[in-house]
Symmetry: C2
Subunit: 336 residues, 2 copies
DNA sequence: GTCGTATATGTGACCGGTCACACTGGGTAA
DNA sequence: TTACCCAGTGTGACCGGTCACATATACGAC
């Protein structure tokens, strides 16, 4: 008979009604100080803990948030989730993080999470990686992370991608580079588009235009960065600097450049994006844009919790700034 | 009035009792085929989905597993969690993954998860990183990941650390190395101990002993690997190969060696452990031991689910083998 | 003295399922 | 014919909390 005590057990033990116990555990002010002290003592003595499942049912919500990302192993995603989890817990929410590699898995997950009442809100990281955003259930508060919302229903939060990319390219311009190549991510994703815009804006600010021969796409992987750099080189390769839209592609590109006999950074300066953990341990240590992923996660959780509390409030979009981290993969262009 | 339909709504709509609905959604055989077909049709028409919260309460369990790790951003942990999640979902369980950086946070988390009935079982990654294993609640099925259980109560699963380390060192021995340095992880963790044992066993197999001057510890970070290598060099540095117990420390060590004028791999061969994502993009591409982290996660989830089903069954320990990945940081020792 | 009001506490119904058990009617064995 | 079984279905209670409302007592104002 080692069952956990219920609120009724406590009530009879303390000689009061269950409602009084309920009031005590919920901090209701309308309980006599004396009664409260006594009840608290009995609760402690019996080791009573309110059952969250029962509470969720009675209250009609679960105080749980879902966080859906393409995977858990991408460092960027993991940081966002970690930040979101910390923030959620501070507000008394739990975070159920799940990964869905593809659209079908995502749809299945949403279908299992939302209509069954398991979560009060949903947070979607990288909603435009495929058609997954279409499956976001309209009946639940949702927030998009790493993208701008394409309808009014849900809020969104992302890095200030455009400005960050602009800063990265400006760094190269400041070093005297004029022929700056670009390796971008999948164009379906907002962040690629926005970083492209930042690239163009920075060039334009320097009185330069975008040369299509200097622009190639990748899929964020190091391998794709390697291939993209090879494409750039094959197309003539008249560039002295390269902006890769993430660090993995930058690392891949560095290898391709070196294999082609270009020195980095002497012949080609390379800047990445993300500041992945070992960025400073690559050869050369990578200059990059650091994102405050934890901050994005925290902010996303906070906004989602607000939305759960007031579903009618307007959702809106928020931006988080990035920070330039200069290491050794970028140097001044001395040539003509 | 856009409330979700309940089992009672479906029952009255279909003209049967709620129990019959319950039987249909739970696949109970004792329902006439005709009735079942009709009920299923009504369910589909109304878009009814059983509420998991209510179900959990009535049944007395939540079909949710907790996965507690020191953090989410460590690639190794993330892989384990991803594997565990996939496996759990296949068995109809959800995985609530949370991170607890320190012992206090861990204790708080367990305290919030277990006595409140939110989860049916707990999975703890790296239980010996601090005193956290002492806080694992005795009243719930638990499994330790990345360590051997120190009491009979819960099961455990880990890599076959000893054999893996032995394989790594044997690789260096096979290349003709005799003076092999070691950078190990925190000794409180089983895996460090076991990898140490594997190191010693391999040396012994070659008729060599462990030279304490060639053994230094780190904390898994690249920085600690860097410092450890400096210590080794300061102590004389008469080694031609180095086994670092994880890739990050290996990468740090490579930098320290180079800064001290030692070439890698010409002067010192370096082997790591883990096969982190960009291991092949470091300079030189890192020879390492690849762990099947997804496999460990899956296996852990499976064992935990078994334990939830049969709490009395003996728990036991399971091992997963690792695999040698040879790249360019290790070469034959040609010297005397 | 009566009333109104505030404070402290208790009661029954309810959240949405499931469980144990009761009931119905047709078929078969005695 | 009666007894019994069994498939198919329904009923009330229950899981462990919370909600809305009722009640009891104390206090001040009229």
């Amino acid at each position: 008979m080692r069952q956990r005590p219920t609120i009724r057990d406590v009530a009879s033990q303390a000689g009061v009604s269950r409602q009084t116990i309920s009031r005590v555990i919920n901090g209701d002010a309308r309980v006599a100080a004396e009664t409260r002290a006594h009840v608290e003592q009995v609760i402690a003595a019996m080791g009573f803990r309110p059952n969250v499942i029962a509470r969720s049912m009675a209250r009609g919500h679960s105080r749980t948030l879902a966080c859906l990302s393409p995977n858990l192993t991408d460092y960027t995603f993991a940081c966002i989730i970690e930040g979101a989890e910390a923030e959620a817990r501070q507000h008394g929410f739990f975070l159920l993080s799940s990964s869905a590699p593809d659209e079908a898995a995502f749809a299945a997950l949403v279908d299992e999470l939302v209509p069954e009442g398991r979560v009060d809100g949903v947070m979607v990281i990288n909603p435009y990686i495929d058609g997954r955003y279409q499956h976001i259930s309209p009946e639940v508060p949702a927030i998009l992370v790493g993208a701008r919302s394409r309808d009014q229903r849900c809020g969104s939060i992302s890095l200030d991608e455009m400005r960050a990319a602009q800063t990265a390219v400006q760094h190269l311009l400041d070093l005297g580079h004029r022929r700056i190549a670009l390796i971008h991510g999948p164009l379906a994703e907002d962040c690629s588009q926005d970083r492209n815009a930042g690239y163009a804006a920075a060039l334009q600010g320097a009185g330069l235009g975008v040369d299509p021969a200097l622009v190639v796409g990748g899929d964020w992987s190091a391998t794709s960065g390697y291939a993209a750099a090879q494409t750039l080189l094959a197309a003539g390769g008249a560039f002295t600097a390269l902006f890769a839209q993430n660090d993995r592609m930058a690392v891949g590109a560095v290898r391709a450049l070196r294999e082609a006999g270009r020195r980095v950074p002497e012949d080609v300066s390379v800047i990445g994006f993300d500041d992945i953990p070992l960025a400073s341990y690559f050869d050369p240590p990578l200059t990059t844009m650091r994102q405050d992923m934890h901050g994005i996660g925290r902010e996303a959780a906070r906004k989602l919790i607000d939305q759960v509390a007031l579903p009618e409030a307007p959702a809106g979009h928020a931006n988080i700034p990035a920070q330039l981290v200069v290491r050794h993969s970028t140097i001044r262009h001395e040539g003509r």
